[in-house]
């Protein structure tokens, strides 16, 4: 029996704000426990939540960028359940009238276009954090995260394999980052994903029994967990068994999903309109105002980079995945018009260092060790023949370490390329004299030795010789 996989994803994205959704507490990550709390987000009796305007605007922004309809009338609902990280006994969320409905995200999977439809985007508050293992006999609760604003972005069950799910998530995260509505940091939990997955017999229209997978903390985890779950369900079905509708947790160490057997999470939330919060009425004017501020997104920018700068599609894709990287690239190209070389340095050396130093999670241009103008200047020095391509690497590493500009480094270290014929002549003569045996071999027809001789000259000049000139001089002398 062959089965078709059906995947839908729910993303919880932290909306980038200074303060919480319903109170004036800070949303800063990593503070001391319960420092970012107040009577509102701790659920004290008698308090009144007041909605943060930016939460609404950022959600509308996201809705517009993903082609959703923005609801004229929208309201808040209470989702009732008990858990220690939820101080009020209910989560303020949206239910019947979410802010955004419909819409879609276009992704590219191995070069093929794929459209993933969205069901809805709604706003809600985050819960706090429980710590289970620190103490033997009791658990700890930190409510700094309680009341942090989230967007829940729900997709239709439109994905057919883990690769599509991964691409959808990457594209969605890129959109949120371009819009500057979410920092996309999965490790700090500002971009989280739950996956719904089911199998059905190929050709069958009806959906199979679905399983919800939680605790997916990276793109890799999402793809691996889905692969595991597809195998598990496929096995159960082909052995004549059934899939049980349930929630399972991904265990990244054992690389398996495990059933969450908690009766506590009975899905009976008794939603009702929250009487503390007044409804929203969004007029066309407000939506238009926000629409006017939408930036150029990754896909559009990718196409433009191919057309305007002649970048290969592959390079353009990588360089535009993050808005700040794309902006860095453009700033460098404006300073020196060699897009391909700049893209190469960016994708190779700069990305490697950012990864090694773990700067890639919160990629912000301000914190990059090499300024765009300095990278551009270095490429210019190579293009103008001031330094050799080989020594550019030395200059680059030095810029990384010290933050100094390329000109200062070249001067300080005496890295200027030697293009002076007299000096190179002398260096070549010295090498020829020292390597008489190899010169004999070359003259006897062993062409390969030429490369060795060039290498010796480069070595003698500590990499500073202009390689083209060395080639010419050497060839001239060997033939003469």
């Amino acid at each position: 029996m062959s089965y078709e996989t059906v995947i839908g994803l729910e993303v919880h994205a932290q909306i980038l704000t200074e303060s919480k959704i319903f109170c004036g507490c800070s949303t800063r990550f990593g503070e001391a426990p319960n420092r970012n709390t107040c009577p509102v987000c701790m659920g004290f009796p008698g308090v009144l939540p007041v909605l943060n305007r930016k939460v609404v605007e950022h959600t509308i922004r996201t809705g517009l960028a993903t082609h959703c309809a923005i609801a004229r009338h929208s309201r808040w609902a209470r989702k009732n359940y008990f858990y220690p990280d939820l101080p009020k006994g209910y989560q303020i969320s949206q239910y019947e009238l979410p802010l955004c409905t419909g819409g879609h995200v276009d992704v590219s999977v191995d070069g093929a276009a794929k459209r993933v439809r969205l069901t809805r985007i709604h706003m809600e508050e985050d819960a706090g954090k429980n710590i289970h293992d620190a103490r033997g006999d009791h658990s700890l609760v930190d409510l700094n995260r309680a009341g942090v604003p989230l967007m829940e972005i729900v997709s239709e069950p439109d994905m057919r394999n883990p690769g599509e799910a991964g691409e959808y998530l990457r594209t969605l995260r890129s959109i949120l980052e371009y819009l500057e509505v979410c920092d996309g940091n999965m490790e700090e939990g500002s971009f989280r994903c739950d996956a719904n997955v089911s199998l059905r017999e190929a050709g069958n229209e009806e959906l199979g029994v679905k399983v919800e997978i939680k605790n997916l903390n990276s793109f890799k985890a999402v793809e691996k967990a889905l692969e595991y779950e597809i195998r598990r369900q496929g096995q159960a079905l082909s052995e004549g068994g059934a899939v049980v509708q349930e929630t399972r947790l991904w265990d990244p160490d054992a690389e398996v999903t495990r059933s969450m057997r908690s009766k506590e999470h009975a899905h009976d939330y008794r939603y009702f309109p929250d009487p503390d919060l007044l409804p929203l009425e969004i007029d066309e004017e407000w939506v238009d105002e926000i629409r006017a501020t939408l930036p150029e997104l990754a896909r559009e920018r990718q196409n433009r980079f191919v057309e305007e700068y002649g970048l290969p599609a592959y390079d353009a894709d990588i360089v535009t995945q993050r808005r700040d990287v794309a902006e860095y690239f453009e700033a460098a190209v404006k300073a020196h018009a060699n897009p391909k070389a700049i893209a190469n340095w960016l994708m190779g050396d700069l990305f490697r260092v950012l990864k090694e130093r773990r700067l890639d999670a919160a990629l912000r241009i301000e914190s990059w060790p090499v300024a765009a103008a300095d990278l551009a200047r270095m490429v210019r020095l190579v293009d103008e023949g001031t330094i050799s391509g080989k020594l550019a690497k030395t200059v680059f590493n030095e810029m990384m370490e010290t933050g100094k500009g390329p000109d200062a480094i070249v001067k300080e270290k005496g890295l200027e390329q030697v293009s002076d014929t007299g000096a190179l002549d002398a260096a070549v003569d010295e090498v020829l004299a020292a390597c008489a045996a190899q010169v004999e071999e070359y003259r006897a027809g062993k062409e390969k030795v030429f490369g060795f001789l060039v290498g010796q000259v480069m070595k003698a000049t500590r990499g500073k010789a202009n390689p083209q000139m060395v080639n010419e001089i050497l060839r001239g002398k060997l033939q003469g």
């Binding site: 200074e18 420092r35 709390t37 009577p39 009732n80 008990f82 009791h138 609760v141 007044l278 409804p279």
Partner: protein
């Protein structure tokens, strides 16, 4: 009967209430009478009337995105039934 004892038990479980048998029966009867009373509203013709979720006619009450709260962890934790350092302390959670 609109409300059965079974439903009372279900709602009580969701609300973490531990009700004795006689309480369940008494509450089923009381809830029943409340719902019967609410049924009176169904006698009204509400065709063409927009559903209302709030009694006050105000929308879009918003505040600017500014941090205005100063940390006051001590005051807040003093209201907690139990604490452990700067955390709230709760009975062991078993996942």
């Amino acid at each position: 009967m609109k409300i059965t004892s079974e439903e009372v038990r279900h709602v009580a479980t969701l609300a973490r209430l531990d009700l004795a048998q006689d309480e369940q029966e008494r509450l089923a009867g009381e809830l029943d009478r409340i719902l019967e009373y609410m049924d009176k509203l169904n006698e009204l013709d509400t065709d063409g009337v927009e559903p209302l979720s709030h009694a006050v006619d105000v929308v879009n009450v918003l505040r600017p995105d500014r941090v205005v709260n100063q940390p006051r962890t001590e005051d807040l934790l003093r209201n907690a039934p139990a604490r452990d350092d700067d955390f709230l302390s709760v009975p062991k959670i078993i996942e």
